[in-house]
Every structure is written in structure tokens, then in C-alpha cells.
């Protein structure tokens, strides 16, 4: 029942994100053949038929250049509905006096969010892939089918961070603002290291996404997969919600 409550509270954000990313993916997919005739937009698939594979890859690069952030955004906006966000409005007294452990409450919310993140990442890109396949009659887009899962994996540490921040700040807005703050400060500090010091440290956990963006051009020449970054993402994805669980277990209201 708590899963239903999580869905009920996050569904508006989920539907908004799903529509936004799906429309974006579809616009990019249909854009090469769009032209104006008599003042109306028409889709003309001739470009896909004349030069199918390179066109499809250009389109895919464009989709990825925008949709790469879907995992992060979903994680922040959906994660901000975690149980810690109920402390400030006062509904937590109701929630924490139901016969469920705080641990189960934390992980049920996490599970619902992960399911929503997967749908937000998979649906737009797989829809674009199916359209590209149908239009070009080529189905050889390995990175395209791979992409949403990378987005979800690098989104999971952010979901954990948002869950933790809502617990520590005891509000949804606190979770949103502090997670954004941590990400921005981290990116800023990283830039300080990269630009003036001419260092290029490995990414903390976004390596799979960087790898994806830099390896989707033709011809395919995949560089070494950043396994270290992937494991760090997996570690943070598990560790941050565990810390949130600990904070919530000790919280008093």
C-alpha cells in the first residue's frame, strides 16, 4: 500500500518527465524529414532512405545530447518524494505509526522510484530506436539500446543522494536544493582541478554515460568501458540510501 502511496505522490512528476523526454526524442527522430508545405509541417522520410545509417547516428547523437540527463533529473525530482520529505509537513507521524519498519518504507520508495526512472529512460529512447529502425530499415544501433540502462545506473547515486538529503533536511524542497547544491559544487570543484591544473581525474560515477556519449559515432570504435566508474556508481547507489535509512531510523519527530 505504501508503494501505491509513493506512486500516487510521484505520478505527476513521473508523467511530466516521461512526456517531456518522449516528445523530445520523437521530435529529434522526426526532425530530419520535417519540412513545411503550404504552411504545415510534413514528415518526409526521404533523408532516412537516402542516407539511412549516418542520419540515424546523427539523430541518435542529438537525442543523447539532450536525454543524457534524464536519469539525473528523474532521480532528483522523483527522489524528493522520499519519506524524509514527510517530516516537515507532519504526515510522518501517520506514516511512522503504521506497522511497518522505517527500513521497509525507505526501500519501498526507492524501488518505486527506480521503476519510474527505468520507464522514463527506456520508453523515449526505445521508441526513438523503433522509429529509427522502421524508417531506415536498419536495426544496428547497439548503443541506442544500451543507453537508457546507463542513464539509470548513473542516476541511482543521485536518487540515493536525494533520498539522503530529504532525510537530513526533513523536506522535499530541502532534498531538491541540497542535492542540486552538492552536484553543482562537485562539478565546480572538478572543473577547478581540470582547467587550471590541467588534470583529468576519472569521473566519480558518471563514466558509463561519458563513455556512451563519446562512443556513439560511426564507425564504432568503443574505447575501454569505465568499469571503475560503474562500480563506484553501484557502490554509491547502495550506500547513499543505506545512510538515508540510518538517518531516518534515528530520526525523532
Amino acid at each position: 500500500m505504501y508503494a501505491w502511496k509513493c506512486w500516487r505522490e510521484s505520478r505527476a512528476r513521473f508523467i511530466f518527465l516521461l512526456i517531456m523526454f518522449t516528445v523530445t526524442a520523437l521530435l529529434f527522430t522526426l526532425q530530419p524529414g520535417l519540412e513545411i508545405r503550404n504552411g504545415w509541417w510534413y514528415f518526409d522520410r526521404s533523408e532516412y532512405l537516402h542516407n539511412p545509417l549516418p542520419t540515424a547516428h546523427v539523430v541518435f547523437s542529438m537525442i543523447l545530447s539532450v536525454l543524457w540527463c534524464s536519469g539525473f533529473l528523474s532521480a532528483v525530482f522523483l527522489g524528493a518524494t522520499a519519506s524524509g520529505s514527510e517530516i516537515e509537513p507532519g504526515t510522518i507521524e501517520y506514516l511512522w505509526t503504521r506497522p511497518r519498519t522505517r527500513t521497509s518504507v525507505t526501500w519501498t520508495h526507492w524501488g518505486v522510484c527506480v521503476a519510474e526512472m527505468v520507464i522514463v529512460a527506456v520508453v523515449p529512447i526505445y521508441l526513438a530506436a523503433v522509429l529509427l529502425g522502421a524508417l531506415t530499415r536498419h536495426w544496428d544501433f547497439p548503443f541506442l539500446f544500451f543507453a537508457p540502462w546507463m542513464m539509470v545506473i548513473v542516476g541511482l547515486p543521485v536518487l540515493g543522494l536525494t533520498t539522503l538529503m530529504t532525510a537530513m533536511r526533513r523536506s522535499a524542497s530541502g532534498g531538491l536544493i541540497y542535492t542540486s547544491g552538492v552536484v553543482v559544487v562537485y562539478a565546480f570543484l572538478r572543473q577547478i582541478v581540470i582547467v587550471p591544473l590541467h588534470l583529468n581525474p576519472p569521473t566519480l560515477f558518471a563514466g558509463p554515460l561519458v563513455w556512451l556519449v563519446s562512443n556513439n559515432q560511426l564507425p564504432y570504435q568503443p574505447s575501454a568501458f569505465p568499469w571503475g566508474s560503474l562500480w563506484r556508481a553501484v557502490f554509491l547507489a547502495a550506500a547513499l540510501p543505506l545512510v538515508a535509512q540510518y538517518v531516518l531510523k534515528r530520526a525523532e519527530v
Binding site: 507521524e93 505509526t97 506497522p99 519498519t101
Partner: protein, 313 residues
């Protein structure tokens, strides 16, 4: 249900230097209806929250139905058997009462759909309006419905009738009496409405600054407790195990005596005092005598029986 419903031993909760609850001792038997009284900030809500695992005690221990609320597996069992109405009756604003009922029933194996429907009807709750659009009174009624329909063995009610009109207060008290008290369920209720407490409770405990000043059967208060007003130039220090409190007002001294007021008055007369009045006490008068800040007050009879008062001024 043979175990003690609520057992509290030396329970304390401090926030920094401020002691919200201090060495509290309570023993509430199954089937008792216990009114937990005190001024704002006396520690009633903190005590209730400690019983339900929302706040951790600094010292001491509590047992609800024999289970320890500081241990998570036992807390889950407590929450399955205890209905709670918090002071702040805040539920999900987007949900209708009907949705809240559906959500809530999934948590409680002894949930009664029949009781929920009956309560919704009796309390005149608009079941299909979003919770945030309900009046404060209706929001309180929804919180009560959810607690009362879950088939709880113990009800912990923190100011359950706050914000309700007199008709609804009467309806809720009748519901409590007919559906819960008559079935031998335990109720631990805090309220500022002493009339309501007198109507349903058989025990009262009065809390002040985290300490229990008095604990007694309501029947004993009605039958035995007396206010003795004495005057005299230099009134003697009274020593009696039956003395609950003594306050000074100029040349007058007011004594609240738990029993044998005539004997107590005779002792005072023997020491040169003039007895002006011996009168029975209502719960309201007793409460005011014990907790009014402007008068110095003795520690009361914390611990179920009147304790000796060695000196006071």
C-alpha cells in the same frame, strides 16, 4: 490481554538542558481509560510519542502490551495493536478520506470496514473530498476514524477532540464509550477538556514540567479528595501522607487532601489554625490547584499513592 497495557518506568526525555519528561512512572491496566492531563508543554505528547517509537527516551523504559517500543521488531507489533491519534492530525492532502481508509486498512489485520463506514456516517465525514479541503474539525474526525476502525487493543489519543464542535465531541465520546470502553479496550488520552476526561476516564494522571504530580482514580477524587482552607498568623507545616498539595495565599493556606480531610483539619486546628472551609473537589479545581504557576506547589502524589510532604512554604 493479560499483560499491563502500558508500563512506564523512570522514563525521561531531555532536549539539551530542558527536561521534557522526567522520571515518569505509570502503570495502566488493560481496560483502563486513563486521562493524561497537563498544561501545554507538560510532556504529555512527548510521553505518547515515546510509547510509539517517534521519540527515543533519554533514560528509563516503557512497555506497551509488554513490548519495547525502542526495538524495531517489537515496535511494529505495538503499532499493529495500538491506534494513535496524534496532536497534529496531518494526513496526505491529496487523498480523500475514502482513499485514506483503503490505504490504512492494508496495514491492519483487524481493520473493520463496517466500523469505518459506521463512523463515517456518525461523524458526518465527507468521504470523497480531498483531505486538504476538509475543515480542521473534519480532518480531526478522519484521523479518529482511522484509529478507531483499526481494531486496536490500546488507543493512544493526543487531544482527540481538538477543533471539534460540542455535538461532534459528544458523538466521539459516545463512540468511545459504546465501541471501545464497553469492550474493555485500554484508552490513554490527553486532553485539555477536563469535562470530557471526567465523562470517560476512570484514572487520571496530572503532569507538570515532565513530572507526574498526581495519579488517582477519578472516583477517589470525587469521593475522598477535599480542599481544606485554613487561616492563621503562622500556619504550621503540615505533615501527612494524605496531603496532595498546599498553596499559600497571603494569610490563607489551601490544602488538597486525598482522604480523611476531617482528621487532617483537626490536626491543623490542634496546631492553632482556623479552618475556613472543607469542600469537595472537582477534577478542574484539583487540576488548577496542582498546576497553577503563581502558587508554590508540593510535588503531589506521583507514584499512585499520596507521598509525605515534609515541608512547604
Amino acid at each position: 490481554m493479560s499483560e499491563v497495557a502500558i508500563f512506564i518506568e523512570g522514563l525521561s526525555k531531555s532536549y539539551g538542558a530542558h527536561a521534557a519528561v522526567s522520571e515518569l512512572r505509570l502503570k495502566i491496566q488493560p481496560g483502563a481509560v486513563y486521562g493524561f492531563l497537563g498544561r501545554n508543554g507538560a510532556g504529555k505528547t512527548t510521553t505518547m510519542r515515546m510509547l510509539l517509537g517517534l521519540v527515543r527516551p533519554t533514560e528509563g523504559s516503557a512497555r506497551v502490551l509488554g513490548l519495547d517500543p525502542t526495538k524495531e521488531p517489537e515496535l511494529v507489533q505495538i503499532l499493529e495493536r495500538v491506534g494513535f491519534v496524534p496532536q497534529r492530525k496531518q494526513l496526505y492532502g491529496w487523498a480523500t478520506p475514502a482513499e485514506l481508509v483503503r490505504m490504512n486498512k492494508a496495514y491492519f489485520p483487524r481493520w473493520s470496514d463496517g466500523a469505518a463506514a459506521e463512523l463515517a456516517k456518525r461523524l458526518e465525514i465527507p468521504m470523497n473530498m480531498a483531505f486538504k479541503k476538509l475543515s480542521i474539525g473534519n480532518q480531526s474526525k478522519v484521523a479518529l476514524l482511522l484509529a478507531l476502525a483499526q481494531g486496536a487493543e490500546v488507543l493512544v489519543l493526543d487531544e482527540p477532540t481538538a477543533g471539534l464542535d460540542p455535538v461532534m465531541v459528544d458523538e466521539i465520546l459516545r463512540t468511545l464509550i459504546e465501541d471501545h470502553i464497553s469492550q474493555g479496550r485500554t484508552i490513554f488520552v490527553s486532553s485539555h477538556h477536563l469535562g470530557e476526561v471526567e465523562q470517560i476516564c476512570d484514572w487520571v494522571g496530572i503532569l507538570e514540567e515532565g513530572r507526574l504530580l498526581l495519579e488517582s482514580r477519578l472516583e477517589e477524587i470525587r469521593q475522598d479528595f477535599r480542599l481544606v482552607i485554613a487561616s492563621g498568623e503562622s500556619l504550621p507545616v503540615a505533615k501527612s501522607t494524605d496531603l496532595v498539595s498546599a498553596t499559600t495565599d497571603g494569610r490563607f493556606r489551601r490544602y488538597v487532601v486525598a482522604r480523611e480531610a476531617e482528621r487532617f483539619a483537626a490536626e491543623l486546628r490542634g496546631q492553632g489554625a482556623t479552618i475556613l472551609e472543607i469542600s469537595p473537589l472537582g477534577l478542574r479545581e484539583l487540576f488548577l490547584h496542582l498546576v497553577r504557576k503563581e502558587d508554590p506547589c508540593t510535588p503531589g502524589n506521583a507514584g499512585a499513592k499520596a507521598v509525605p510532604v515534609s515541608s512547604f512554604s
